[in-house]
Amino acid sequence: MALTGRAGLLALIGVLVVGLLLPSWQGILLMLAVLAICVAVDLVLAAGVRRLTFVRAGASSVRTGELCTVQLTVRNPGRRLRGVLRDAWAPSAGVVSDRVAVDVPAGGSRTLSFELRPVRRGDRVSDRVTVRSVGPLGIAARQGSHVVPWTVRALPPFHSRRHLPPLLERLRELDGRRASLIRGAGTEFDSLRAYVIGDDVRSIDWRASARSSDVVVRTWRPERDRQVTIVLDTARTAAGRVQGALGGLPRLDTSMDAALLLSALASHARDQVDFLAFSHKVRASVPRATLPVLVQAMAPLEAELVEFDARGAVAEVLRRAGRRSLVVLLTSLEPSIEHGLLPVLPLLAARHRLLIASVSDPALHAMAAGRGDLESVYAAAAAERTLAERRRLTALLARHGVDVVDALPDELPRALADRYLSLKAAGKL
């Protein structure tokens, strides 16, 4: 049961009646009785809420920050239903307006639309649907809730997709380099074509030229069908928030963005992408990933407050990747790598090429540049120590033949994709 504003208004009119006409306890009792009767009449005549049935339809996934619509159909088997309906969602589902006025005729149904703009990645579930059915006098209402489950998966926003066109352009250049400057190992013979001025004379295929009337050059194309295994670290260090252009995001979200850009690029380059999210156990695994499958797999991932199990991750990668592949580990350069990853690195490096991508913290660089007072200088010393540690780790990893991309959150996706392209161009996959 619920009262409405009219009940309050009726009680206020009662003030005039009691004050001017019936200044006595009887007057007050009379007004109370009138109010009680009106409320009772409304409650009896209002449409029942319990017997309503609901059906949902509409979007089940949406990119974080974008608008989607979820429909809710109300079927009313009883009397005509008038009132308010609230479709409650968790706050981060970002419902634009969760309450609407409803008017469903007896035995009829209505379809209501609710717009959602999720502000946070992950599965956003609906809470209860609450209906307040107002009686004919509009003084009191019946109220009740129904559970109508629905989940909208807020996908990673993939902000770095704007970098994709220029990267694809570069990839095509790589493809079209044909008689190229680079003829290293790993580049594959593509086709023969007539020589044009500007082609490297070293790429002229003399034997083919002899057979034809033109001078013919060999063209090359980048290697294809290589395997790229992306390992996403979802453990402790991924939870740390790093300030970027889009506000303070966990490292995990930046790493995901980089992983998405890399996999989009790699699948355009016809490489096979395997995705693995790992903390102390496998959180998500997508073999032969395509972008839609990948974003679906990434959406519910959250950082966990556990230590990254490097040994387990390496074992898992070795188990899956049959042939030589590029293993991209998205993690953070922290001293714990030394004890966790380094001992098992030779196992991995023996069969695969490892690339570590790490989100660096702009706050660290700002602190390192602090001068003037004692506090800033101590902060600078602390930051410098951390930066020195990272440099040492990078050098240590480089000695083991590991590539390291350590970039600010806004630059990491692009930097990682560039590194991948240069590795591809050099035929090092």
């Binding site: 004050g19 939870a239 706050a363 410098e384």
Partner: protein, 344 residues
């Protein structure tokens, strides 16, 4: 950049108008209070020397052996004359009770008169005031057993009712037979209780609720009920509050900040200095084209005006004790050196 917080001048410009008005009001209030103050006692007060006061009558009565007790709260009236200056301010029941107990009662101008007469010199025309003769009389006309001065002074039993106050005031006491009349009326017994009831008389106070009309009282109750109904309307939620587990917010730089605080608390200035030197060396080496770890002093000396020994002291002398102030200076010196190398 423009400062948006107001300065003192702007605050004064904005506030001087209201401040000026406030000062004027305060000044006027003080002046008015000073001008009006000093005049103690109101009209018909036996302690007041003002024209409207009655000190002269009281003095005359005292000289004739009548003890005058000015009061605003009567307790015992037995055997005394009760003079009520403002009968309207007393509860009628209480007034009747008092006048029954008093030996004589004089009421001044109760509003029970039939009509009004002009205040002027009148003849007594009754034995009661024969001795006094002419007096400045007038005001309300009353009914009574004995009537004087055209029924503006009447007596019924022990109660004397007078329609005019002129005979008691300092201003008019010396006119005609006023003084004799006042003495005759007030000097009936040895004791005179000069009762000047005030509006705040405790004996006739009613409680606040007694004074409010019923309509307002019950209206207020109904208003309370309306408030409860409105509160019920507003308090009812449309469905429950939705909770949501949120991820922990950990800033990645927090551990570094913690370490900085530890340095500071333990005054680890030498350790901090060595870290800053190491960082400067690591940055300088690639700038000079040297492998990391090699001593860049000689190369720096070659490019800048500094001597190799000075540079080496700045970059390497970790043994030299550094205090907190020295640490800040060292950081600046290292920056200066790096800038020189970058430019040179």
């Amino acid at each position: 950049m423009t400062a948006v917080s107001p300065d003192a001048g702007r605050v004064w410009t904005a506030a001087r108008g209201p401040v000026l008005i406030g000062v004027i009001i305060l000044f006027a209030a003080v002046v008015i209070t000073l001008l009006r103050g000093g005049g103690e006692g109101g009209s018909l007060d036996p302690r007041s020397y003002l024209p409207e006061g009655s000190h002269a009558v009281a003095a005359l009565l005292e000289r004739n052996g009548v003890h005058v007790e000015p009061t605003d709260d009567v307790s015992s009236v037995e055997g005394a004359t009760l003079f009520v200056t403002h009968p309207t301010l007393i509860d009628p029941k209480r007034l009747a009770d008092l006048s029954r107990r008093a030996a004589a009662t004089v009421l001044l101008a109760p509003p029970t008169g039939k009509s009004r007469l002009k205040v002027e010199t009148r003849q007594p025309e009754c034995p009661l005031a024969a001795k006094a003769g002419q007096a400045t009389a007038g005001g309300f006309v009353y009914d009574g057993e004995q009537r004087c001065y055209d029924s503006t002074l009447v007596r019924t039993g022990t109660v004397t009712t007078i329609g005019f106050s002129s005979i008691f005031t300092n201003r008019d006491l010396d006119e005609e037979g006023n003084a004799a009349l006042a003495l005759a009326v007030l000097g009936q017994h040895d004791r005179l209780i000069w009762y000047m009831p005030s509006a705040a008389d405790r004996s006739q106070q009613k409680s606040f609720t007694d004074l409010i009309p019923d309509g307002w009282k019950f209206g207020a109750w109904q208003l309370g009920i309306a408030a409860v109904v409105i509160a019920l309307w507003r308090a009812r939620r449309l469905g429950r509050v939705v909770t949501e587990p949120l991820p922990v917010v950990v800033r990645a730089a927090e551990t570094v900040e913690g370490r900085a605080r530890l340095y500071r608390r333990s005054h680890a200035s030498e350790h901090a200095a060595s870290v800053l030197r190491q960082a400067a060396r690591d940055r300088l080496a690639p700038l000079l084209g040297l492998p990391v770890g090699e001593d860049p002093s000689a190369e720096i000396a070659r490019r800048t005006s500094r001597s190799a020994a000075d540079v080496r002291t700045l970059l390497y002398d970790d043994d030299m004790p550094v205090d907190d102030r020295g640490l800040v200076a060292l950081a600046d010196e290292l920056d200066a050196l790096e800038n020189e190398v970058r430019k040179g």
